[in-house]
């Protein structure tokens, strides 16, 4: 079964041209012209990646993002008008994993999708699980438990956590995390890391305002401590 991509975009011409370009990558593309269409399509058959334009008539991209996030941890790429607005942070907080600004080259989109589809890797495949206090991570199964209870993470959150967990006690800079989790280089947007760390903390920290596991090292980055 090939990779299925759902693109949510109200402009038919963009939708069609992006579909053609993505199909050239060997992926199956399903189109949705509105938020309602997108939710119906996603309910009918889940996709492997969802591409959402924030500016949609009716239900906007943020709402579509949140609605999908409630039922799925599928990677979501959103398309925003500008990089320097609050839209980016709002979209990431709504559950998006990555973003692109219009007009983007389809090659860039393909690269983003490929990065998101990469499986979480473990530095030591021999270690079936990693334990940090009450936090238990089983990379092979994609499972995280907090005090014995399963915690539901998105794929990106999970990969971020595994990346930190495979370097226990070591500080990882934003740039390193951007590269290893998202496939960006030095010039990636650090907000991706920060918002994902925030989201991760709300799920695994007893008190997200005073993190116990994922701590910030000022001026350097983040680390996971037990």
């Amino acid at each position: 079964m090939g990779t299925r991509i759902l693109t949510v975009e109200d402009d038919e011409r963009i939708r069609t041209s992006v579909r053609l370009a993505l199909e050239d990558e060997g992926w199956t593309v399903e189109e949705a012209a509105s938020g309602d269409d997108a939710l119906n399509a996603f309910t009918r058959e889940a996709a492997d990646v969802v591409l959402i334009d924030i500016m949609l008539p009716g239900i906007d991209g943020f709402d579509v993002c949140r609605a999908i996030r409630r039922v799925s941890d599928v990677p979501i790429v959103m398309v925003t008008a500008r990089a320097d607005t609050h839209d980016v942070v709002a979209g990431l907080e709504a559950g998006a994993d990555d973003y692109l600004t219009k007009p983007f080259a389809p090659k860039e989109l393909s690269a983003r999708i490929r990065a998101l589809l990469r499986r979480a890797r473990s530095a030591d495949p021999g270690a079936p699980q990693m334990v940090f206090g009450d936090l238990e991570i089983i990379p092979e199964e994609g499972v995280v438990r907090l005090a014995g209870t399963d915690v539901h993470l998105t794929k990106t959150e999970f990969r971020l956590l595994v990346e930190l967990a495979t370097n226990p006690g070591r500080v990882l800079s934003r740039e390193v995390l951007l590269e290893r989790v998202w496939g960006y280089g030095y010039f990636g947007d650090g907000r991706l890391v920060d918002v994902h760390i925030r989201r991760l903390r709300t799920k695994i920290e007893p008190d997200p305002a005073n993190p116990r596991y994922v701590v910030t090292i000022r001026g350097l980055g983040y680390k996971l401590q037990s």
Binding site: D11, V18, K102, F104, G190, G219
Partner: protein, 469 residues
């Protein structure tokens, strides 16, 4: 000449001058009339008194004189007269005279008065003897062919008049100064609103388009303020409309560009199956779509500055690492010179600074020829990023306008066009300005031929982690 000089003076100086002139005329008039009146009153009064005293004394002398009285005998007569301080009697009998004081002798009697008296008339005259002011009264005593003269000194009157003159002069001078000060104050007061208008106009010119004048307390100025504010409002509306238009146009262009980019890519995926002619056409299309995309992105970016929605997203950036990474991502060979710096952390907008460095490097590599060097350094609270090349440099005349939008340098070829959008350096300058910094171009510091673009940005307050997220 004077008129030209006058018109060259400022309004304030002229108003002050006019007030001072008015004060001068007024005090001059008052001084002259005061002095004239005082002189008349004092002097005439003194003359009247001197005359009546002299007449009385002449009467006594006449009574005491006999037909045979010789000049030697009149001493007693003179001694018995009522002589006040500063009065000097002189008796003439026949051709001989007798004075009581040397201060007034026969030589001191003016000849015109003597003639008058000899003709049998009484008379008086003001004279000055040895610098002393005198009123000389002459009364004939015809029965004995004698004449009685009496001189009265009026230096006390002169003193009073002199003192009065000094006082009037002082008061007059004070009045002139006072009116000049009044004029200065009044003109400053009158011109204060003009000063505010000037400041407001300067602020408008500097781009503060929401500058308005406060409504004045003075009704006379209300119309000026109203029309100024009206002008400012329409200017602001107009400029904002233009900026919004550019922004909306570029915004609207993004959707078709998106389609173009994706479609061109699909075509390129199948390039191999095309004929050579089609491939050439596709290459042309691809190049121009790429350029067009860059232009629209630059336009969008720069229109954010015009609409005023550009905001700095500062995060801590180590410029040493940043420049290294920028150069690694650059398609050109670039030499980095950071001197002894290990790191240099600034509060910067990564995306925008990346654009700045990439654009300057691109510019140097395309139009500068030779080796491109990026220098990082620190000057006090400022960080320096300089990009040098070994090209012909930028002529001095173009150094100011090279950062203008769509500026076209002559000697520098198409330098200034950056990625070819014509907005490259203009946008770079806007980004640097947003950081509170400056950018300029001049010669290389080492004296070799080539241009040096210098960016100078404040190191700034390094934001805490996550504060900028």
């Amino acid at each position: 000449m004077i008129r030209r000089l006058w018109s060259r003076l400022g309004l304030r100086a002229r108003i002050t001058g006019l007030y001072a002139l008015g004060g001068l005329l007024l005090s001059l008039t008052i001084a002259l009339s005061t002095l004239t009146l005082a002189r008349q009153n004092l002097v005439e009064d003194r003359e009247e008194r001197a005359f009546s005293v002299a007449v009385r004394n002449a009467q006594r002398v006449e009574n005491g004189l006999g037909a045979e009285t010789e000049i030697e005998d009149v001493g007693v007569l003179l001694d018995n007269l009522t002589i006040t301080e500063g009065s000097f009697p002189l008796l003439q009998v026949g051709d001989a005279t007798r004075a009581l004081d040397q201060a007034f002798d026969a030589d001191a009697v003016p000849s015109s008065l003597r003639e008058l008296v000899e003709a049998g008339n009484a008379g008086r005259m003001r004279v000055r003897v040895n610098g002393r002011p005198l009123i000389v009264t002459g009364i004939p005593i015809p029965d004995t062919a004698a004449a009685y003269y009496e001189a009265a000194a009026t230096d006390d009157v002169e003193d009073v008049l002199n003192t009065l003159g000094i006082i009037v002069l002082g008061v007059g001078a004070a009045a002139i100064l006072l009116s000049a000060a009044l004029g200065s104050w009044a003109s400053r007061r009158a011109l204060t609103p003009l000063g505010e208008v000037r400041l407001a106009a300067e602020s408008l010119a500097a781009g503060e388009l929401d500058t308005r004048l406060d409504p004045p307390a003075d009704a006379d100025l209300a119309s000026l303020t109203a029309s100024f504010n009206g002008m400012a409002r329409s200017l602001e509306d107009r400029i904002e409309r233009d900026a919004r238009f550019a922004s909306e146009v570029s915004h609207e262009l993004r959707s078709p560009l998106m389609t173009l980019n994706a479609s061109v890519e699909v075509l390129n995926n199948n390039r191999d199956s095309m004929t050579e002619r089609n491939q050439t056409a596709l290459d042309l299309l691809t190049d121009d779509v790429t350029r067009f995309t860059a232009l629209v992105e630059d336009l969008l970016e720069i229109s954010r500055y015009d609409v005023g929605t550009a905001s700095l997203r500062a995060e801590p950036i180590d410029l040493v690492e940043f420049v290294r990474q920028s150069v690694d991502h650059s398609p050109y060979d670039v030499v980095i010179d950071v001197g002894a710096l290990q790191y240099l952390v600034v509060a910067g907008d990564k995306r925008r600074l990346a654009h700045v460095v990439a654009n300057l490097v691109d510019n140097a590599a395309k139009y500068g020829a030779g080796e491109t060097r990026v220098v990082v350094g620190r000057e006090g609270d400022f960080a320096i990023i300089a990009v040098e090349d070994e090209g012909p440099g930028v002529p001095e005349a173009e150094r100011g306008v090279i950062f203008d939008r769509f500026s076209r340098g002559s000697a520098g070829g198409r330098r200034g066009h950056g990625t070819g959008s014509g907005l490259g350096l203009a946008l770079v300058a806007e980004h640097v300005g947003l950081h509170g910094g400056e950018i300029w171009v001049d010669e290389r510091l080492d004296g070799r031929e080539g241009a040096r673009f210098t960016v100078r940005i404040p190191i700034g307050d390094i934001p805490d982690d996550e504060e900028w997220a």
